[in-house]
């Protein structure tokens, strides 16, 4: 029998990729292939998760991620409710746990949490009876973004084993970079980080957790032999906070320009988690070049989130049954 082993539904939450094995990631990506086909249909909906309630609990604005989760849940016929609150729970005078308990009492099965403080998904996971999906917490983790990046890369490169992936930009503050480090490492890829020291922090601190990383300050050097580059968004606040002399200088040394794309391997893929700061971290013509898979990432994001919802919801149901 050549069938891959079905995974036992033991996963309750998706908080980061640090507790995923390669097998589990592969299984999820395989599932997402099937989900992507559904999305291509005229009637892009299957009845699988009827009666499952998904609440998008967004404490930080992110229209893209929220819509992606919403479409994923709806494609599987789940009920979706959006709960948006700005600022932290403390500022609101309402505790995060209190809000969570209310949503639990209202019948939420899966909470999709986006929050500006690291660790909040873990906090809710301590207290919520259903499943938590971390849709980004502070600079900590953004596992669904990493999974969709892995999906896109695997789709285009065939495998991630020994592929060379560069992550460039504001790595210090990037949950996308951290979750991708877990995911890419688990899949056997070689990762290079590239950022100015103020947006990277102490190199040794990274190497303590991911010893096989390569860290370079020159983007040109980093891009040599790269199979793909993940360009991170640069928040303009970083410059205001004094971490950068100017956006102009940043763009000069760290933006993915047409010239850098030309110098890289033919077919080097360009990824970006969005939204783009065109002219800052990425040149406009690069973003729409043939090597850019930025739009596909968005479509793949829905498929990957469907796959996650499918696995988590079945686990919940089976436990309840």
């Amino acid at each position: 029998m050549t069938l891959p082993e079905p995974i036992r539904p033991t996963r309750r939450h998706v908080l980061d990729l640090d507790d995923f094995t390669r097998h589990e990631i592969e299984t999820l990506l395989d599932t997402a292939v099937g989900m992507k086909e559904i999305l291509s249909r005229e009637i892009a909906q299957v009845p699988t998760l009827r009666g499952v309630s998904v609440v998008n609990m967004f404490y930080e604005d992110s229209t893209r991620t929220r819509i992606s989760f919403e479409l994923a849940a709806k494609a599987l016929s789940a009920n979706v409710v959006n709960f948006a609150a700005r600022g932290s729970s403390v500022e609101k005078g309402e505790s995060l746990l209190d809000t969570m308990r209310t949503l639990q009492a209202l019948g939420a099965d899966i909470l999709v949490l986006r929050h500006s403080y690291a660790g909040t998904a873990h906090l809710l996971a301590q207290h919520f009876r259903g499943a938590i999906i971390n849709a980004g917490d502070g600079s900590h983790a953004h596992p669904t973004q990493a999974l969709l990046d892995l999906f896109t890369l695997r789709d285009k490169l065939g495998t991630l084993e020994r592929r060379h992936i560069v992550i460039v930009g504001d790595i210090l503050h990037s949950r996308v970079a951290r979750s991708n480090l877990w995911g890419l490492t688990a899949m056997g890829a070689h990762v290079t980080l590239c950022a100015p020291p103020t947006l990277l922090g102490n190199e040794q601190f990274w190497l303590d957790t991911w010893p096989d990383l390569r860290i370079v300050y020159s983007l040109d050097a980093a891009l040599q032999d790269a199979d793909a580059v993940i360009v991170l968004r640069l928040q303009r606040e970083r410059q205001e906070a004094g971490l950068l002399p100017s956006l102009r200088e940043y763009a000069q040394f760290f933006a993915l320009s047409q010239a850098r794309l030309q110098a890289a391997l033919t077919g080097m893929l360009v990824l970006h988690p969005g939204p783009l700061n065109e002219g800052v971290e990425i040149a406009p013509d690069v973003a729409v070049s043939a090597q850019s898979v930025i739009e596909e990432q968005v479509t793949n994001g829905v498929a990957v989130r469907m796959a996650l919802l499918y696995h988590l919801a079945l686990h919940l149901r089976q436990k309840g049954a």
């Binding site: 640090d18 403390v90 995060l96 690291a118 660790g119 909040t120 906090l123 949950r175 990274w206 303590d208």
Partner: protein, 505 residues
Amino acid sequence: MRYLITHGMIIDPSQRVATIGHVLIENGKVARMYEMTDRLPDADQDLVIIDAHGCLITPGFTDLHVHLREPGEEHKETIATGTHAAARGGFTTICAMPNTRPAYDTPAVVRQVRQMARDASAVQVEVIGAATAGRQGRTLSEMANLVEAGCIAFSDDGSPISDPAVMRNALAYSRMLDVPIMSHCEDTRLNAGWAMHEGAVSMRLGLPGYPAAAEEVQIARDIHLAAMTGGHLHVCHVSTAGGVELIRHARQRGIRVTAEVSPHHLTLTDRWVLGTLDSPPSAAQGSLTQRLDQYSHVYAAGMQSMRQSADLPLPAWFNPTLLPPFDPSTRVSPPLRTEADVEALIAGLADGTLDAIATDHAPHALVDKQCEYGLAACGISGLETALGLVLTLVHRGALDMLNAIACLTEGPARVLKRTPSSLRIGTQADLVIIDPDQQWIVDVNQFVSKGKNSPLHGQRLKGRVMLTMVSGQIVYQEPGFGMTPRVTPVASRLEGILNTDDDDA
């Protein structure tokens, strides 16, 4: 009431005494010491015999750094609950930090707090006055008036004094009063928005960091200001290897610097913030014992001064994986640092660079802790676990028993320029009876303190306070302790308590 404490191991750092015998307490004072061979006083109705077989009898502990929260935050702690927690921890004198509402920055508030302490307290409470008015870090508080009202030191603890000129003036002015300025050393421009120690763990978790340098640059600044003014600088809760080194160097140069370290900074590290994440997925499937072993190895590697003990306690070290990741109970200011820092702090205690162990007991309500990690209130409720943590170092051979007790008795007295608590005949009977070998599991719900915020919940500690006496009155006693004769053999265990090689007296 007279008490006869029998068959105890008497340890008194102030006299450099360690012997087995009996202690008689009369009229609130230490009345007599008996050797094992001496004839004991005849039993009478007025004489309570406390059997301290297998236990240590030591002078009562002094805690330089306690947050009693009263007035203003009585839901977190009160003078009554805080001092009873102190008694349970073996502390007979505690110094209350002024970050209350209102702050202890006027003689009226100080007198009122001292009066409340006399009425409600189980132990002796000393008041630390605010160094600046309203703890705003701008103008000096009326220090002379506050000393008259009873303040024994000044501090803006919780909020560092950012302006170096204000710190200079505080150190200079306090010199005429001969009281220390207890400095919370933190440069808040270097750790803006911090959640934990800046290191490999904060990098992994994406939490904003508090670099060691944010503490060290402020310690360096204050040392130079102390050197310039001749004032007495006391560095609160040193947490970094660099801080220890700065203080060591300053003392070698004769600058008036003293320093304290907290039990948690001596024993816990930033890896505690990882909680269950601290075991790689493969090890997570291993048994609990395997994970513990893995831990002991990590910590043991950092302990250079390890002395092999014949009976290592069952849990070689604590197990951070009892906590979930990002557990707010691990959030404390200054933050838990690295193994290398822990090692340096222990070395600092051992060589006398650090004078005292002070709990920085910081009780908080559950609601202040059950929230986003970076927003959780800083602090650990530490009075009731302090001794257990310190004795962990002794059991591991990282610190000898006499030194450990000295850091809780003599050391703090030295900072306050007082005669240390002692078991000398004729002195006030402030003493503690400790069972150094009793293993117990920390249960925060059993805390006397209102603050249940401790990362140690569920951990096994070895060593426990059995009885605390203030002025000859029992202020805390483990239920049933001392009433029935204990049968633990004693004599052999005294060996090694006094490490004579290390005797610098």
